[in-house]
Symmetry: C2
Subunit: 219 residues, 2 copies
């Protein structure tokens, strides 16, 4: 295989990382049932070759002597074996805090979906922000809400790393810059604009119209 000739940290291709991410959810939902690469092909559409190759990247994250690192058996792969490896390979072990910026319809929807019974313990909804002091006082929320001007202070205080940007398009760039200045590491952007930010901030866009178009070009 001979990866890692460049550095100590093995490099996993970006496409593989994305697939491992999805694979992890499938494995988590499979209980103790073993999954073969052929079965995963049925579930995902990825060729079984690709599946095996992807999983083989996890080899170096398995403990034990270099010989005892076989990941699958003749029954297929065991979820309980792979999931921890994927978490380690993708550095998903760390608990991360996130906030919601902009508490309109979409923002408050995500505010409430991220509550106690919300997503995994992996991500923790820590704060919500809105420009309207009134809205901040009235809205019910599982996490504390703050007026926008406290954004920098609160993000620093709690070590919030990720922001869901749900403000109107006109306000998005300015808000994103504030977030970047406050030290946020990643932004999930729901506003229909291309944000321009320094490269140390990761941005992922989730814009309805673009998603619809992406669907349309596949139909």
């Amino acid at each position: 295989m001979d990866r890692g000739k460049d550095s100590i940290l093995e490099q996993i291709p970006a496409v593989t990382r994305e697939r491992l991410l999805q694979l992890m959810r499938i494995l988590e939902g499979a209980g103790s049932e073993h999954l073969s690469s052929a079965r995963i092909e049925e579930l995902t559409g990825w060729s079984s070759n690709t599946v095996r190759r992807d999983i083989s990247y996890l080899e170096s994250f398995a403990g034990g002597p270099p010989d005892e690192r076989r990941l699958g058996s003749v029954n297929g792969y065991a979820p309980a074996c792979l999931v921890p490896l994927i978490r380690r390979a993708l550095s998903l072990d760390k608990r991360r805090r996130y906030c919601v910026v902009g508490l309109g319809r979409l923002g408050s929807a995500y505010l409430n979906s991220g509550g106690p019974a919300g997503s995994s313990p992996e991500f923790e909804l820590t704060a919500g922000f809105d420009i309207s002091v009134n809205r901040v006082e009235i809205l019910k929320s599982p996490a504390p809400l703050y007026p926008a001007y406290k954004l920098g202070e609160v993000i620093a205080r709690f070590g919030i790393e990720i922001a869901l940007l749900c403000v109107p398009a006109e306000a998005a760039q300015a808000a994103a810059e504030k977030l970047a200045a406050a030290g946020i590491r990643g932004i999930l952007n729901f506003a229909p604009v291309a944000l321009m930010l320094p490269p140390q901030v990761a941005v992922r866009n989730v814009y309805l119209e673009e998603e619809l178009r992406a669907l349309a070009i596949r139909m």
Copy 2:
């Protein structure tokens, strides 16, 4: 270049299609200002080489004699020239209808963002569905709402092609199957499950936790 040796329809790589989609939005926001490939590199992070290559795929969609098809000038590319070509290349000309299935917090947020002043005229919010008759009667909406059992009938009647699936995770697979049976062509799935559907239905997942993880692995 020699594309199109396989069929009459030129094949544009999937990654290029995705970039052209984003590029279109940037161009639409640029007004009449010409954009050079170097400028687009600044805006997007894609290398100017890649930008020029991507745009070169549009050549065959330009009209006029085979010689007169130069897309850019010494000033760069003119948005007004490229945007129609991209629309044609990605088959985004057709007006498509979509619906929202599941009118919880998220569903009703999208219901109201897709209203008259909502997204482009390219996609038309045509209906909303929910299992709760009560909710269907009470909610305010820019599009007519129907109880879930009318799903098949309404989709067929209006020729709805796309669905935003906003139901709880437990109900997602069943709802998706109903949609597929009703002839829907694409599903934007917001429920945290991997849908299993016949291949003629395009699925795109937008799941908060996965988006957060995708961000996290880039941080």
